[in-house]
């Protein structure tokens, strides 16, 4: 809450950076732009009144737009009209009033053109649904839009007459807004528009649920805290000073609060103000060194984008094929250049993943060491589905495979080939990964751990020195290693004495993230030392580690894709990844 208010100070204040006016001419460095801008300036000068230029700027978006979507009665009464470009009231009323006079009877086409505009309409019982467009507008698009609108109107209006439409006028305007985005066509279906208008958001529900939970939790904690305060008062009365332990309670509250704000992605939650803990939270506001870690959207965004990307390229590919070779050949010369922007996609994609679940004790003993692997397959075109996969793997003790029920088990056991039981059926094609096989490796010992972390907190003087070191095994090159060390509640970020790699302090979760981009033979071991105010050594656990690697324990690989039909083997790519799912030192 406090953060939110603090933010609004800069919101309305004069931000010096924004006052740094720059001309777009120098900014773009482009002569066309300069010319245009100069021309606009010239226009501004020569125009009698400024607003004209403004309007010119704002509606000259696109040369083909829908000016308005309206419903009028056959007698010419305007029931609802939504304009998508700026136009004066007298103008739109005039256009709509002229319309019923222009509509002839007994015609089999449903558009009328005047000197300036085109009306595309559709009679709906005693009403006309009509689009007013400019004459350059693309009739095919407009008809599509009109078709969509004509399906939408009965969805919202209980009866297709004057009364019904007037009653639901606002709902219709909302629907029109979705179907035509500021005059431009959108490729939507009725169901999508309805969904957009209903505004049922999964995220909001989730958000509300989380909020409710947090509120309940906080209430509980409040009660507990109240009783603790009561207790401590009694203890104080006794002259006993046990405040340190009592503090651990509130800290948890704060961290949970900060969690909440993350999922909220920074929106000030108004209803939380009633809890009355704002002063506590304030003390944890972002320190200059600590980067705002509120970008919880960033990782999720990355994932979403990736998925979208493959879909997109599939569409490209399909339409490419549909259009025949001529265009494909045309594409060739520039492919290398454009490849960077468009990810290449092969018809068959194999994903091999191993996930680690490791819990190590502080003393180095293993609590849990579990590896789970999956092999999944994505096939774009049905034709490419008639394949079998030749699997290779290293013989690791404790490795056991499990195949999907539809996979021919005998074939796999005898020849290490993954194929469907029914050879006449293809693998399912589509956007989704299809899991084919799972495996587990159990009973591994400490020696095979990819990474070990040692943490040595020691109190000396008024401070706690913490030494952390990692050691990576020779067998893997680890990427994006992040070691998160929980810290006691701090006013300032910890002072780092020495570090191999980079660090980041997340004040809200009060964790210190030690990140090493790549661990390979050059840096199989590394260390860090930092200083914090005195704290119990148990505070610094559990340490969570995240990393990925490009090779796996089992070394499962697809050696070959064997086509079942007598065509060339389809091109395939495989992605092999080892991911630390849970990797904790407790």
């Amino acid at each position: 809450m406090g953060r939110c208010l603090g933010g609004s100070d800069t919101l309305f204040g004069l931000d010096a950076r924004k006052r740094n006016f720059r001309f777009s001419i120098s900014f773009h460095g482009s002569c066309i732009c300069a010319l245009l801008t100069a021309y606009l300036f010239y226009k501004t000068e020569s125009a009698e009144s400024r607003p004209v230029t403004k309007i010119f700027l704002r509606c000259a978006w696109f040369t083909m737009v829908v000016l308005a979507a309206s419903i009028v009665t056959k007698s010419g009464k305007v029931l609802v009209s939504r304009q998508f470009v700026e136009m004066s009231r007298i103008r739109i009323e005039g256009l709509l009033a002229a319309f019923p006079k222009l509509v002839g009877t007994g015609k089999q086409h449903t558009f009328v053109e005047t000197e300036n505009v085109r009306y595309v309409y559709q009679p709906i019982e005693a009403l006309y649904l009509l689009l007013v467009t400019n004459k350059q507008s693309n009739i095919l698009e407009d008809l599509d839009t009109l078709r969509l609108l004509s399906k939408l109107v009965p969805e919202y209006s209980p009866s297709l007459d004057e009364e019904g439409v007037c009653k639901m006028a606002f709902e219709l305007i909302f629907a029109f807004d979705e179907a035509i985005s500021l005059g431009n066509k959108e490729n939507l279906t009725v169901a999508q528009v309805k969904q957009y208008c209903e505004m049922e958001s999964h995220e909001e529900r989730l958000h509300k649920l989380v909020m409710q939970n947090k509120i309940n939790e906080t209430k509980d904690i409040m009660k507990r805290k109240a009783s603790e305060i009561d207790k401590s008062k009694i203890e104080k009365n006794r002259g006993d000073k046990g405040g340190l332990m009592a503090l651990s309670g509130p800290r948890r509250i704060e961290s949970s609060f900060n969690d909440m704000s993350i999922s909220n992605s920074g929106s000030g939650f108004g209803s939380g103000s009633g809890i009355g803990l704002s002063s506590d939270v304030e003390s944890f506001s972002i320190k200059p060194k600590g980067r705002p870690s509120a970008s919880a959207t960033a990782p999720s965004k990355g994932l979403g984008m990736k998925l979208g990307k493959t879909q997109k390229t599939n569409q490209f590919l399909e339409s490419l094929k549909a259009e025949g070779e001529v265009i494909l050949e045309d594409v060739q010369p520039n492919v290398a250049q454009s490849k960077s922007s468009l990810p290449s996609t092969d018809p068959v994609t194999l994903t091999i993943e191993e996930r680690l679940n490791v819990v190590i004790r502080r003393d180095g003993a293993l609590n849990n060491f579990d590896i789970q692997g999956t092999l999944s397959l994505q096939i774009l075109n049905q034709e490419d589905g008639f394949v079998q996969l030749q699997i290779e793997n290293q013989d690791v003790p404790g490795l056991s495979f499990k195949t999907h029920p539809n996979i021919n088990k005998e074939l796999f056991n005898s020849k290490h080939i993954v194929g469907l039981k029914d050879p006449n059926r293809p693998f399912p094609a589509g956007q989704n990964d299809v899991g084919l096989m799972k495996w587990r490796i159990q009973g591994m010992d400490e020696a095979s751990l990819p990474l070990t972390v040692n943490c040595w907190p020691s109190v000396s003087g008024g401070e706690t020195y913490v030494n952390i070191e990692y050691e990576a095994s020779e067998s893997f090159d680890l990427q994006n290693v992040v070691i998160s060390i929980p810290l006691p509640a701090l006013r300032e970020p910890p002072s780092i004495r020495q570090i191999d790699g980079e660090w980041k302090y997340d004040s809200r979760n009060s964790t210190l993230d030690w990140s090493i981009l790549l661990i390979d033979h050059a840096n199989r071991s590394g260390s860090m030392e930092f200083v914090v105010p005195p704290a119990d050594s148990s505070v610094f656990f559990p340490i969570a580690v995240r990393f990925t690697a490009a090779s796996t324990y089992s070394d499962v690989k697809v050696a070959n894709v064997i086509p079942l039909r007598d065509n060339a083997p389809p091109k395939y790519t495989q992605r092999i990844q080892l991911i630390a799912d849970t990797y904790q030192v407790v």
Partner: protein, 950 residues
């Protein structure tokens, strides 16, 4: 510039919600009531109330609401309220909504974020937008495409503001980044459009770097790309070459909308034959593949445009165009034929005519209800082909003659007119046509067709055998003579009585008909089919000849035509028949026929006797046959044909003149001045203006761009509203746009006192509506004020605007009223001369309900002078050709036609006769579909017809 209006909602004034009721509901906790109240508030605002007290209530009680509908309605409310004061500064309280908007932009619900971003696109106050920009930018990276789409739109809208470049200096860079990583089609389109309009260079670079993939872009993005290409090429035509390849690759795109757009772009960019051919081909394919009539018509319109600009290429496409004839829609067929007819050359004429013939045959085989009309169109098309290229006439005329007996009278008439013209202009075909006509004559049913065919027989039967067979054919068709015998009288008396009753019904529907020359004629509405008389008559049973049926039904006009045809044939027979006895026999036969017709006409058998006109003509024929002379012979056998030939020649001459006149219109003179866009109305176009031409299309559509008339004319339209000695002097300058009238009223305070609450109150009569409520002003001593009032017009009608100026002075607390002069809105502002075909005119004349008959009362003495006077004062066009008005005969009949801007037709017929005392008398009849035009045009004519002084 007026305030823009983003939505209209019908508001029923019957239940006015009170502001405090709304306020109460808004303050309550009931969400439903809140929604209702908010809706009412928006409706009141849309209807011109201002409700300023509601704003704070809404900020306090509605802003925090979590209900989605409330939030959306709130955005609509914010959209329509005035956010600036009179001087254009943002109201201070608007800062209150910023926080709410910012929260909405960070709302967990993606749709709330989306609609809020969309709302920002409609805002134009940088003061409100500025604090929101960071939130908008974070939305650019949101996971949900719905939000990203709208975030890009919002950024684009902000950047387009006059101060946008300061608010968001790096917008193009951001958007460019988004464009390269974005996957959602709609969002990419929005991003691309933003770049295309704000920073063309990156957009062009992106387009060119992706040139090979454009064919795989989604349709929305492809449209945007085409738009950009057009824009770039207009400003920099040298770069065309780079883009043509992209366009060609898009031509094979699956989306038809894109393909259509491609073709349009090609045409606008290039005039190279290959490009035009490709575009035309695309259009033709669309014409085939699209089933929607709208699309077909618009594509045909595009082809029509191509035809005018690139005729030589379109000539090659004519057969493809003609394929559109397969559509069942008549409008499409008509348009297709219109285009095709102008593309005919000597090379493709045979093919075209072959196709047309096939189509004609098709109409015969399939029975569709519109077939008759379609056949008529085809016949007309073939007709004009045959006039242009006489050699094809021989191949079609026989086929067409099968349709002389067509049940669709209109197409049969077209055929017979065609035959008449061909037989005159194509002497080689005469023999075969005449033989054919005589063979098929018995099939003809319609009276008009019959009389025309008879005329042809009478004029073009030249050789002995032709003349003889002509006479025989007519005789056969007339059946046994006499038509009517006295002995039958008794027997058929009963029948005729019955008939009388039947016909009394039909006779009542007799109505005057305008003939082609504009004169009135009385025609029996009882058509040939209405009468069953022929079947009743015993004489007709043997051979129910068509002529007999017609004559027995009482159509003596046909009788007169038969008589004159026979006369002509007999006269000619006398020339070619060596045997005198044969000629005499034919002569007596003809006389017998004529007398029996007269006898029938005089008998009581028919419900109404022969009309005087026909009677006179038949008698004239009898006299002539009894007493022939060389003069008369010459008139009958030669002059008729000469005058027909003269008529054809005149018609052709007029057509040639029209073509010449069209060809002479020059689009621009080399020494034309360059007009500056904002300084003058647009005629010649410089390079920069060319660039704007397309945007003008949009601007015209939004009503921003109006053609300005001559400044000199403007001054003529100033009306004085009050006297010079009134305390307030007012004059108005009236501008009439299409659907609206703008009154620019200058008000001058002539007193030494300050006038308070000065208000211009206007009221209207007729089909006029005041758009805005008048405002109050305070006028300092001897100062002046410009007040503008908008009035909406919805039909062509003389309207009157009257009003008062009301004000208060400081000493007298009574309101003073100055009554204004009435402002008459002239109907002539709405009427423009137009042309239509004779047939259309006749149809409309018969169809329209309102007639206003004005008796001629003028001091003018000359008929033509009077006609010209009326034409000038009503701003109509005379449809009657000048040649028909030539000569002095003391009579004049003419048709005038005009169209209003609302698409209403106004028809006027003038019939004049010069009295013995030199005065003109007669009537002017006005017909229209609506009462307004008939009345106001009548008033206008009554006012102006006196002539003389004005």
């Amino acid at each position: 510039m007026e305030k823009s209006c983003s939505m209209l909602i019908h508001f029923d004034k019957g239940s006015p919600a009170m502001a405090n009721e709304i306020k109460e509901a808004l303050e309550g906790n009931d969400v439903e009531a809140k929604i209702d109240a908010l809706k009412k508030a928006i409706m009141l605002l849309l209807n011109g109330e201002s409700l300023p007290q509601l704003f704070i209530t809404i900020v306090r009680y509605v802003l925090p609401s979590e209900d989605h509908t409330v939030q959306k309605l709130l955005l609509l409310y914010l959209e329509i309220i005035d956010k600036t004061d009179a001087r254009g500064r943002v109201l201070p309280e608007m800062i209150l909504i910023c926080q709410n908007l910012r929260n909405n932009l960070q709302h967990p619900n993606e749709y709330i974020r989306g609609v809020t971003l969309r709302f920002l696109c409609r805002l134009s106050e940088p003061e409100i937008l500025e604090p929101l920009i960071p939130s908008v930018l974070t939305n650019l990276e949101h996971r949900h495409p719905f939000i990203r789409r709208h975030a890009i739109l919002a950024i684009a809208a902000i950047y387009r503001l006059p101060t946008g470049e300061q608010l968001l200096p790096d917008a193009p860079v951001l958007v460019e980044k988004v464009l390269s990583s974005e996957q959602d089609l709609s969002a990419r389109r929005n991003a691309f459009l933003m770049l295309a309009s704000c920073a063309q260079l990156p957009a062009v670079a992106y387009l060119l770097s992706q040139a090979d993939h454009v064919a795989n872009w989604g349709d929305l993005l492809q449209m945007a790309a085409l738009d950009l290409i057009r824009k770039v090429c207009r400003s920099n035509s040298g770069e065309k070459g780079k883009y043509i390849k992209i366009i060609i690759s898009l031509l094979s795109c699956p989306s038809e909308a894109v393909v259509y757009e491609c073709a349009c772009t090609l045409v606008s960019l290039s005039s190279a034959p290959t490009a035009i051919r490709a575009a035309a081909n695309t259009y033709c394919q669309l014409l085939q593949s699209q089933s929607d009539n709208n699309v077909k018509l618009i594509v045909l319109e595009r082809l029509n445009e191509l035809k005018t600009s690139h005729k030589e290429i379109m000539v090659e496409m004519i057969m493809d165009v003609l394929r559109a004839l397969s559509s069942p829609n008549l409008d499409i067929k008509r348009k297709t034929l219109d285009i095709a007819l102008e593309l005919i050359t000597s090379r493709n004429i045979d093919e075209v005519v072959l196709t047309l013939k096939k189509e004609v045959v098709k109409t015969q085989s399939t029975e569709l209800e519109k077939n008759g009309e379609y056949r008529q169109m085809l016949v007309q098309a073939i007709h004009s082909c045959a006039i242009k290229f006489p050699q094809v006439a021989s191949t079609v005329v026989h086929l067409l003659m099968d349709f002389l007996g067509d049940s669709n009278v209109a197409s049969a008439i077209d055929v017979v007119l065609f035959v008449r013209e061909i037989i005159e202009t194509n002497p080689k075909l005469r023999v075969s046509v005449i033989t054919r006509l005589l063979d098929t004559f018995y099939q003809i049913r319609a009276a008009r067709v019959c009389s025309c065919a008879l005329w042809i027989i009478g004029e073009y039967c030249l050789s002995l055998s032709e003349v003889e067979s002509g006479i025989v054919t007519i005789k056969q068709c007339l059946g046994d003579i006499p038509f009517y015998t006295a002995t039958e009288e008794g027997e058929t008396a009963d029948a005729s009585k019955k008939l009388q009753q039947v016909s009394s019904v039909t006779v009542s529907s007799k109505r005057p008909v305008v003939l082609a020359d504009g004169t009135y004629a009385t025609q029996s509405a009882a058509s040939e089919t209405a009468f069953s008389a022929p079947t009743v008559l015993p004489g007709s049973l043997a051979s129910p000849g068509n002529l007999r049926a017609l004559i027995l039904s009482g159509d003596f006009f046909v009788g007169a035509v038969v008589a004159s045809t026979l006369t002509k044939l007999v006269l000619r027979l006398e020339e070619v028949q060596p045997s005198k006895t044969e000629a005499n026999r034919a002569c007596t036969d003809a006389l017998l026929i004529m007398t029996s017709m007269l006898q029938l006409g005089k008998s009581s058998f028919l419900p109404h006797p022969i009309d005087n006109d026909s009677y006179d003509r038949i008698v004239l024929c009898i006299r002539l046959l009894c007493n022939t002379g060389d003069d008369v012979r010459k008139i009958w056998l030669q002059s008729c044909r000469q005058s027909f030939a003269a008529m054809l020649a005149e018609k052709q001459f007029r057509e040639i003149e029209e073509i010449k006149a069209k060809a002479q219109i020059s689009y621009a003179q080399p020494d034309d001045l360059i007009d500056f866009y904002h300084l003058k109305s647009r005629k010649g176009m410089s390079q920069l203006e060319l660039e704007d031409e397309v945007q003008d299309d949009l601007k015209r559509a939004t009503g921003e761009f109006m053609k300005d008339g001559d400044d000199a004319n403007k001054l003529n339209r100033i009306l004085q509203l009050t006297g010079f000695s009134d305390p307030v002097y007012a004059e108005a300058y009236v501008t009439v746009h299409h659907y609206d009238i703008v009154l620019d009223v200058t008000v001058i305070n002539r007193t030494k006192e300050t006038l308070q609450n000065l208000c211009l109150e206007l009221a209207t009569m007729g089909d006029l509506k005041l758009v805005d409520r008048p405002q109050n002003y305070t006028l300092a001593p001897e100062s002046s004020k410009q007040i503008r009032a908008n009035i909406k017009v919805s039909s062509t009608e003389t309207g009157v605007i009257f009003g008062n100026i009301v004000y208060e002075t400081s000493n007298v607390h009574e309101r003073t009223v100055v009554v204004l002069n009435d402002i008459h809105i002239d109907i002539m502002d709405y009427i423009s001369p137009a042309t239509c075909a004779d047939v259309t005119f006749k149809n409309m004349w018969a169809e329209f309900e309102w007639e206003n008959k004005v008796a001629v009362n003028t001091i003018l003495q000359d008929e033509k002078e009077f006609l010209n006077h009326i034409i000038k004062s009503t701003n109509m066009k005379c449809l009657t050709p000048p040649s028909a008005l030539d000569g002095e005969c003391g009579f004049l009949a003419a048709n005038l036609y005009a169209k209003s801007v609302f698409g209403e037709d106004a028809l006027v017929n003038i019939s004049l006769e010069k009295q013995a005392d030199g005065k003109l008398s007669g009537y002017i009849r006005i017909r229209s579909k609506t009462q307004g035009i008939a009345l106001s045009l009548g008033d206008k004519i009554t006012l102006k017809q006196k002539g003389g002084s004005n």
